[in-house]
């Protein structure tokens, strides 16, 4: 499977100038062949969740049919095999992020849980009354609320770095937010509502010069932008499996081992201890200290398969293809009279948010759905972003490497139809 990807045909596919053979790749995703109400599926909701390749489905299936058992404790063969597969997935995630050690990879339910873990463990230990936490104005609710909860509890202050009308972070303003009470920075790598690809190197640099650690919310980035945590020197990085062609219910929190070592556990339970008496509990070593209870074993194994699949295609190649497609889609959609793009940063990835004058995004979504076109409409769990741009909601198309120019054309045609219906 992997080798087939590695030697992906050099001939350009009909729908792109890059060397990705998208029509061949689409065959790896069984769901894409489906008809929706008799229409071919045009799936453009990849920022919500991505579709799963057969390799991921097979990996999960074979775990359940061949070696389903609990991990880290059984002496029997099945348990050993499951443990190996699960721990192999951890190593795959380690390599994927280029973490120094596999114990720096904590399996969690998803990005949301990863951020909550850091807020509740690192945050509660290091943020006190009068201290400050910096986020940005383009965050998903899951990178706002955990910090709000922490700040409320600790009487600390949440500072918000502003963005400009294109949806770009104002780096100067961000830098001005720092003072002697700044304890933590948590910022999206790629904005889910705007598609902005943040200048993470500068963001981290500014914080590190003041010895403030940084968490990057990689939910929208990990599947589309190459991440090297050592090179970036970021302190925490979080992403979700299901936005990376893997299953839901599993994700990764990367943390520098020195930070993770010093942090208290997030949840108590089995697997996170090394010994328990009623008087005292000794916590397990990393990463298990943060993995209480039986984890999502199938999910972890599925995520490992997804990482393999993506590596097989080549993340950089996939990204180049997606960027090309995003540029194509941006030109096409921006050219439709009455359409306004929300999020026009110079550096973007995969997300195309827009509104149409006088037509609510929900109506756009319903009409497109009748043609089998799946997009997301609403506030995208980023209400402050909607407020910033003065819209109640947007329509959002988000791309993956299995999307084609033909699908973008279908979307454009669909938007014309929406306008036609409302202009009657």
């Amino acid at each position: 499977m992997k080798t087939a990807r590695d030697v992906a045909a050099p001939r350009a596919s009909s729908s792109s100038s890059t060397s990705l053979d998208v029509h061949r790749i689409r065959e790896d995703f069984p769901i894409l062949a489906q008809k929706i109400q008799g229409k071919r599926l045009v799936y453009l909701d990849n920022a919500a969740t991505t579709q799963k390749p057969q390799a991921v489905l097979d990996a999960i299936h074979s775990y359940f049919t061949e070696y389903n058992s609990n991990i880290h404790r059984g002496v029997h063969w099945l348990s050993q095999r499951a443990t190996e597969a699960y721990e192999e997935a951890r190593i795959k995630a380690q390599r994927f992020l280029n973490a120094r050690e596999s114990r720096e990879i904590i399996f969690v339910r998803g990005t949301t849980e990863a951020i909550n873990l850091v807020a509740q463990s690192y945050g509660r230990m290091n943020v006190g009354p009068g201290d400050e936490v910096i986020i940005s104005a383009m965050e998903h609710h899951s990178n706002i609320v955990p910090w709000q909860m922490l700040c409320q509890e600790k009487n600390a202050k949440l500072r918000v770095a502003p963005i400009n009308d294109s949806g770009e972070l104002l780096l100067d303003e961000y830098e001005k937010l720092f003072n002697s009470r700044t304890r933590f920075v948590s910022i999206a790598h790629v904005s889910n509502a705007l598609g902005t690809l943040n200048p993470i190197r500068q963001i981290i640099d500014v914080a590190h010069r003041r010895n403030v650690p940084v968490l990057l919310d990689g939910a929208q980035a990990a599947a589309h932008v190459k991440v090297d945590v050592q090179d970036l020197e970021c302190d925490f990085y979080a992403f979700s499996g299901h936005k990376l062609y893997g299953p839901t219910g599993v994700g990764v929190l990367y943390g520098k081992s020195a930070l993770l070592e010093a942090m208290p556990p997030y949840q108590g339970g089995g697997d996170m201890i090394s010994s328990v008496t009623f008087e005292q509990t000794l916590y397990n070593v990393l990463p298990f200290k943060f993995e209480a209870g039986t984890p999502n074993i199938a999910g972890g194994i599925g995520l490992g398969a997804a990482i393999d699949y993506l590596s097989g295609i080549g993340l950089q190649q996939a990204a180049a293809y997606e960027n090309d497609l995003l540029a194509y889609a941006t030109r096409a959609i921006a050219g439709i009279p009455g359409v306004r793009l929300i999020g026009t940063a110079r550096e973007k990835a995969t997300v195309l948010s827009f509104v149409i004058e006088g037509i609510h995004p929900h109506d756009i979504g319903t009409i497109l759905d009748q043609d089998g076109i799946a997009i997301r409409t609403g506030h995208h769990c980023a209400q402050p972003v909607m407020d910033r741009f003065g819209v109640p909601a947007t329509a959002r198309a988000s791309l993956a490497f299995y999307n084609t120019r033909e699908e973008i054309d279908a979307l454009v045609e669909g938007i014309h139809k929406v306008i036609e219906i409302f202009d009657r």
């Binding site: 109506d363 319903t366 209400q383 009657r424």
Partner: protein, 150 residues
């Protein structure tokens, strides 16, 4: 396409573009806010209730075509109705948009509101169509004096 035409009937598109009774009602003695956290739609319903009769009603807010038109047509349909009649009309309307038949009498009662029958083909949009009605119910029940100076 025919389902779409059923959903986005001309009357609905017209009320979306030019919503009726779209204003704050200064004389209101009941008011409630409703919102759909899933999509961010917001509506405020203002009500003037005298001796259990809706003597005036208006709304404000932001929403999709279905929720805006529904609020607009609701305000048009309710002026002069008693609480009991309002309750019955909401039941009939709810049945209509969820695809339950309320019988010929119900349909006649609904009058203009019958244009929302197309919603039943789009279960996900039922919430849009009923947001204003749920908000109205809250306004009727919790007796908040919107214009109270207390």
């Amino acid at each position: 396409m025919s389902y779409l035409n059923d959903l986005y009937q001309e009357v609905i598109l017209d009320h979306n573009k030019k919503p009726r009774n779209f204003r704050e009602l200064k004389e209101a003695n009941r008011k409630a806010e409703g919102f759909n956290p899933l999509c961010g739609d917001k509506v405020t319903v203002y009500l003037k209730l005298e001796n259990n009769v809706v003597t005036d009603i208006s709304f404000q807010g932001k929403g999709c075509a279905i929720s805006t038109a529904s609020a607009s047509l609701m305000t048009e349909s309710l002026k002069g109705k008693t609480r009991v009649e309002v309750k019955k009309l909401f039941e009939d309307f709810h049945n209509l948009v969820t695809g339950k038949t309320g019988g010929l009498d119900a349909e006649l009662e609904l009058g203009k509101l019958a244009v929302f029958h197309g919603v039943s083909e789009f279960p996900i949009r039922v919430k849009c169509a009923t947001l204003a009605w749920h908000t109205l119910q809250a306004a009727l029940e919790n007796k908040l004096e919107a214009v109270s100076t207390e």
